[in-house]
């Protein structure tokens, strides 16, 4: 158990959790407690098959646990309906995929603005002109302005991930979840990307949950959790 109680008020509290894909299947994820403090930068380490996708699904409200509480920003996602969880995700959570984050048929700017179409809250939180704000974010993430109007498929993976970061940050969501966003990047780009992401998360007062199997990234973060230790379902299955 590597649960550490943090002094500031928690933004995420998962307690007494159990999730299984089917009622008669064994548990894929079981643990007692996980809390994340506001503005914390948490690293969750875990090889594939340790329940990482399940945890991400629970945190984003795509799936709901059979038992336990998923409390984010004081709302229990486990008690919400699917559509309410979808709305909650749209309003409060920015998400970065491993790769292929962008819709190929939208421009760079339109990709960044995508969350604003599904959440009025995030749209309202954007100060001033949407396009300007998107450009501003991309600039801060060091995306060359010459690329703003090129097709997203022409961007390098590193550039695509930075556009994805801008998209996850637009409209100041309280929580930013990144699912191995650097796995497709080389070493130098990886460090640069994480540093930029950290900086922007801090700027926006956003809590960052970063999931990866790569232990070398651990030193960048405030705190690190090993999911293989946390997940009790792994022990019982073995």
């Amino acid at each position: 158990m590597s649960v550490v109680d943090t002094p500031s008020s928690p933004i995420i509290t998962l307690s007494d959790l159990d999730y299984r894909w089917g009622a008669d299947l064994p548990s894929t994820l079981t643990f007692d407690q996980l809390t994340v403090a506001a503005q914390e930068r948490l690293f969750i380490k875990g090889p594939s098959g340790c329940g990482k996708s399940t945890l991400l699904g629970l945190l984003t409200g795509i799936i709901s646990p059979q038992r336990g509480k998923v409390e984010i920003l004081g709302h229990d996602l486990a008690a919400m309906k699917q559509s309410e969880r979808d709305r909650f995700r749209a309003d409060h959570i920015g998400y970065i995929f491993q790769q292929f984050n962008l819709l190929p048929y939208l421009s760079v700017i339109d990709n960044v603005l995508l969350p604003c179409h599904f959440s009025a809250t995030r749209k309202q939180k954007v100060a001033g002109d949407l396009q300007q704000q998107a450009k501003h974010l991309l600039e801060r993430l060091h995306l060359p302005s010459s690329l703003l109007h090129s097709p997203v498929t022409d961007l390098s993976i590193g550039q695509q991930q930075r556009v994805a970061a801008a998209r996850a940050l637009i409209g100041h969501p309280e929580l930013l979840i990144a699912d191995e966003p650097t796995s497709a990047l080389d070493h130098d780009n990886r460090a640069a990307f994480i540093e930029l992401l950290m900086e922007e998360a801090q700027q926006a007062n956003t809590t960052l949950v970063f999931v990866s199997h790569d232990p070398t990234l651990e030193p960048f973060f405030d705190r690190s959790i090993d999911l293989t230790c946390l997940n009790k379902a792994l022990e019982t299955n073995q």
Partner: protein
């Protein structure tokens, strides 16, 4: 929702090639459906246009469809001839305005020969009370003169002053030709789109003249020459049928009854409109079959759209996962797919209607010139709007299949990207 429409549009433009092909498939099926519908209604109209302004058609006693077929469509034969005296009696009836005698039985190279008189030129009407007009020449005046229909002139390449030989009966064989008595073409009618185009018109007297010596049905012994016949006055003894135009429509039924109960000879008088209606009713099976075929073409078109949408779904799982991560609800995904299917159908319908009108605009002058069929560029009729509406609704309903699949897929995949 406007954001979803925008996404649907962007996504479709990204899959331009498939989208265009899908739209074309729908468009072509719509062209076929509407084309068949147009042809069906135009055919019905031109069918009804075959004869106009005639109040009664009188022939030997028979069914009304049979009488209509041989007298107006020149298909088949009269059951019997009628006496000239009957014609004289009814053509001079006080309620009759005009009468056209008709004598059928001979042919020329597959075209029927009609013996009639000058009244045919002045009183016969077709379409919307249109009279016959000439592209060349004049009505027949002398014994061995003929006026031919537009199709006869076109198919046989006849011009004014051409000599033609008429055959006895419907089959044109060497042994039954009236080859000693050639006719001269003196007039060619303008195309009418009616059986008139396929008819050779001669005078009743000429019909009598060429049958001198043929009373038994074949050539017996010597037949007179044209020179000898020029000076003989011929009076028709029998005809096959006649058309009557009345002074007032109100008298139609009473005259019809008088003719049907005429005690000197068994006659039938029919109202062309009613007989046409009955005849068209007999052909409605073909009409329905045609419509059913074009309906199936539309279904095939929409199934093409379905298959392309379903194929694209597999490639678009990533797109769906990204949208879900951005907070799109499964119903948004559902709506995205529905709006794509509806949009594709609508574009297909619009393009199809466009192509149809373009084709009509190109074909109409050709059809009018060569076939006398008037294809009108009329606005979309209420019935056609209904058909188009049905296609649109079918397109939307078909969109439910990929939409529902994407909905379930996005629920199951969540934000996991499966490729």
């Amino acid at each position: 929702m406007s954001a979803i429409l925008h996404l649907a549009w962007k996504s479709l433009t990204n899959r331009k090639m498939t989208a265009i092909l899908t739209i074309l498939t729908v468009a072509i099926s719509v062209v076929l459906l509407m084309g068949v519908e147009r042809i069906r209604t135009q055919a019905k109209a031109s069918f009804a246009n075959t004869i106009s302004g005639t109040d009664l058609i009188v022939g030997s006693r028979s069914g009304q469809v049979n009488l209509l077929l041989y007298s107006v469509f020149r298909i088949g034969n009269a059951t019997n001839n009628i006496d000239w005296k009957s014609f004289e009696e009814f053509s001079q009836h006080r309620s009759v305005k005009w009468a056209i005698p008709m004598s059928l039985g001979d042919s020329h190279q597959g075209f029927r020969v009609l013996g009639t008189n000058q009244d045919y030129f002045s009183h016969f009407q077709y379409g919307r009370k249109q009279h016959l007009s000439f592209t060349a020449g004049r009505p027949f005046e002398h014994l061995f003169e003929a006026v031919i229909g537009a199709d006869v002139a076109k198919e046989l390449g006849y011009v004014i002053d051409q000599d033609i030989i008429i055959a006895h009966g419907i089959s044109d064989k060497a042994f039954n030709r009236h080859d000693n008595l050639p006719f001269k073409v003196v007039g060619i009618f303008a195309p009418t789109g009616t059986p008139v185009d396929k008819t050779v018109h001669v005078s009743l007297a000429a019909i009598e003249a060429i049958h001198v010596g043929w009373e038994s049905g074949a050539r017996m012994g010597n037949t007179p020459s044209a020179k000898q016949l020029e000076h003989v006055e011929f009076h028709p003894k029998q005809i096959t049928s006649f058309m009557l135009g009345l002074k007032s429509k109100i008298q139609t039924f009473s005259l019809q009854r008088q003719i049907n109960t005429y005690n000197k000879e068994p006659l039938s008088a029919i109202l062309p409109g009613i007989a046409l209606h009955e005849l068209w009713g007999m052909m409605s099976v073909a009409e329905q079959a045609l419509l059913a075929v074009s309906g199936f073409v539309v279904i095939a078109g929409l199934l093409g759209m379905l298959s392309s949408l379903l194929t694209s779904l597999q490639e678009r799982r990533r797109e769906m996962a990204i949208l879900r991560a951005m907070g799109a609800r499964p119903k948004h995904i559902f709506f995205l797919l529905i709006s794509e299917a509806s949009g594709l159908t609508l574009a297909g319908i619009t393009l199809g209607v466009g192509i149809l009108y373009l084709l009509l605009a190109i074909i109409a002058p050709i059809a009018a010139k060569w076939y006398g069929i008037s294809l009108e560029l009329t606005a979309i009729s209420q019935h056609e709007w209904m058909l188009l509406g049905l296609v649109q609704i079918a397109g939307i309903i078909i969109g439910f299949i990929p939409a529902f699949r994407a909905y379930r897929q996005s629920l199951a995949d969540g934000m996991t990207i499966r490729i």
